[in-house]
């Protein structure tokens, strides 16, 4: 596609429910990143995937968070047993690969946990 596509754009869920957020990176991009942007805050790194290498999960805040990337393309970020503090905008970005300057962000999924 022309850009990084994320779905849904908005998600409201009840505390304790599981949610899945989807990211479609730019075709041909081998690296994919997830960031979290809390209200009025900067972006916080969560996880990245590069090709067939093991993902770097060092930014995931708890074991309730997980992500997978199927076929080197689409990625899904899963949050289990959501808490109110999980409310944020979840942003996905992709790039051609490591060491490449600059990458492209999607518009994000705004998650609200009530």
């Amino acid at each position: 596609g022309a850009g990084v596509s994320q779905s849904p754009s908005n998600k409201v869920t009840e505390k304790g429910k599981d949610v899945e957020l989807r990211c479609d990176p730019i075709s041909g991009h081998t690296a994919l990143y997830w960031y979290r942007q809390s209200l009025g805050q900067g972006l916080e790194f969560l996880i990245y995937f590069q090709g067939n290498s093991a993902p770097d999960k060092s930014g995931l805040p708890s074991d309730r968070f997980s992500a997978e990337r199927t076929g080197g393309s689409v990625s899904t970020l899963t949050i289990q047993r959501t808490q109110q503090e999980d409310s944020a905008v979840y942003l996905c970005a992709s790039s051609y690969g490591l060491g490449i300057i600059g990458y492209t962000f999607g518009s994000g999924t705004r998650l609200t946990v009530v």
């Binding site: 972006l43 790039s95 490449i100 962000f105 518009s107």
Partner: protein
């Protein structure tokens, strides 16, 4: 640990004025410093970036100044326009493969340009 500190949190400037945003970093391994512009409801978009081998980079009305010894860098928006009203983020990363090109972001600056 906040590795990139950004100031001010918000800024109001008259049309035609200069907007200045400052960032300071701690990790000396950082060697790539981009600035992102974000409009409401959109993801951040790369605006301009600098490597530490130069002290200044200019692209149109946007200039990055970099001070390696002080571990500081700044964004100057010359002749600010209402369309520049957005949130600006500085960021930093290490370009070595092991670092994975993960970006560490500052807290953001909301810029409002008044007509």
């Amino acid at each position: 640990q906040q590795q990139v500190k950004q100031s001010p949190q918000s800024l109001i400037v008259q049309k035609g004025g200069i907007s200045i945003i400052n960032c300071a970093y701690e990790n000396t391994a950082f060697d790539y410093f981009p600035w992102y512009q974000q409009f409401p409801g959109k993801g951040p978009a790369l605006l301009i970036a600098i490597r530490p081998d130069v002290s200044e980079k200019k692209e149109g009305r946007f200039t990055i100044s970099f001070n390696k010894s002080a571990k500081q860098f700044s964004l100057h928006i010359m002749d600010s326009q209402p369309g520049d009203s957005a949130t600006y983020f500085c960021a930093a990363s290490s370009m070595i493969k092991a670092a994975g090109n993960k970006l560490t972001f500052g807290g953001g600056t909301r810029v409002l340009v008044k007509p």
